[in-house]
């Protein structure tokens, strides 16, 4: 078992459910079943731990997106259809979660802005920029084949997927209804359909 990963997993759970201030090195050590010095061996301080969490969050998201959208592309050569298939698969990922989604680390970080060092905030920006680049690239491919039906900034449209997921997570938490995240991704899917599909009506 990888101690570093074990520490990160427990710290992630704690941050998302109780916030960064309650996530003390002592409590993380206890939860992960390692000594304090064991935690410090991997993370020099709490900021290093926060950075480790953000990296883990980014790696996990990238792995899911890579897998889903590669598979979708495999199923259709058409960039619009591939994107719509990928979004459907993403809905399934959220539908299959056993419980209410634990939360988005980025959202948690910006809502506890003052507790984090600038280094951590620059990582959250990097995470969001990489989402934007990824989806902007797909939208560019779509727009080449299907000119948008309305004037739209493709960076904003790329950002809107993350917006719908974050909004969906907050809705699902407020209503205690896990299905609302997939529902909002479904709405984003409808936005994409109407923005690009030719020969409507």
């Amino acid at each position: 078992m990888d101690t570093r990963v074990e520490i990160l997993k427990h710290a992630m759970q704690m941050v998302l459910s109780e916030g960064f201030d309650r996530t003390t090195i002592n409590r993380v050590a206890e939860r992960a079943g390692v000594s304090r010095s064991g935690v410090f061996y991997h993370f020099a301080d709490k900021t290093a731990l926060a950075e480790g969490l953000m990296h883990m969050f980014m790696d996990e998201n990238n792995a899911v997106f890579d897998r889903i959208f590669a598979e979708a592309r495999h199923l259709s050569d058409d960039p619009l259809h591939a994107f719509l298939i990928g979004l459907k698969m993403l809905q399934d990922v959220f539908t299959d979660l056993p419980d209410v989604h634990p939360g988005c680390l980025v959202a948690m970080t910006v809502y506890q802005e003052r507790l984090y060092e600038a280094r951590v905030h620059s990582l959250t920006r990097r995470s969001s920029e990489s989402w934007r680049r990824r989806f902007r690239h797909m939208l560019d491919e779509i727009a080449e084949v299907y000119p948008p039906n309305t004037q739209v900034d493709l960076d904003d449209l790329a950002d809107m997927l993350g917006v719908c997921i974050d909004g969906g997570i907050i809705l699902s938490k407020a209503h205690q209804a896990p299905e609302l995240i997939a529902a909002q991704i479904g709405m984003y899917r409808s936005v994409i359909k109407l923005m690009f599909a030719a020969g409507r009506g």
């Binding site: 201030d21 959202a107 507790l115 719908c164 907050i170």
Partner: protein
């Protein structure tokens, strides 16, 4: 009486900005008391504990948002009889209002409460849920009037579509905070508005 209600409002204002910057848990009664320049007894006179403070914050926030939506969409109703136009005008007014807040929207208390709900008692959680449910009902009311005249061009669930107003606002505020750019939420709401136009306008282009 006026002084008492002023103190209560001051406590709520101080607590709100602290909560939006670092969360409920990291906001201590001590720091609120210090900033408000009151005694601890003065604080407890207004709020018996932190949950009572949280509940009052959420209630005030939801009341303010409700009257804001009443104003914007009420004004939109004065400007048009057509339900689709009313909704589009209301969204535009909402975007303009968000654009005019100096420094951008400070953050949504419903989001912070949703994220930290394990810290709160059932009363706070219920108030948060009621608030989100009322927003859904409000926007669904508009959408139901719209679909009577304009059949949607895609099969959408009106609850989910109504939730999207809240979802896009919440997600947009998070984007504002990530990039330190208050225009994101404005642009996301305008993007949602474009979608509403495409979804309902006959022969839109």
């Amino acid at each position: 009486m006026a002084r008492i209600s002023n103190t209560r409002t001051r406590i709520l204002d101080i607590a709100q900005s602290a909560v939006l910057a670092k969360g409920f848990d990291a906001t201590s009664i001590e720091e609120i008391v210090a900033e408000a320049e009151i005694s601890k007894g003065g604080f407890f006179y207004h709020f018996p504990d932190k949950n009572a403070l949280a509940q009052a914050l959420i209630e005030r926030y939801i009341d303010e948002e409700d009257s804001l939506f009443d104003n914007l969409f009420g004004r939109a109703r004065e400007l048009s009889d057509d339900p689709l136009q009313v909704f589009l005008i209301g969204l535009k007014l909402l975007a303009e209002l968000l654009e005019d807040i100096p420094g951008g929207h400070p953050g949504c208390l419903v989001a912070t409460a949703a994220y930290q709900d394990r810290l709160f008692d059932a009363g706070v959680r219920q108030r948060n849920k009621d608030g989100a449910t009322a927003w859904r009902a409000r926007f669904k009311g508009h959408l139901e009037e719209i679909v009577e005249q304009y059949p949607p061009r895609d099969a959408v669930d009106l609850d989910d579509l109504a939730d999207m107003v809240t979802g896009v606002s919440e997600g947009g505020i998070i984007l504002n905070k990530i990039f330190g750019d208050p225009t994101h939420v404005v642009r996301q709401i305008m993007l949602f508005r474009s979608y509403i136009k495409l979804l309902f306008s006959p022969g839109a282009n």
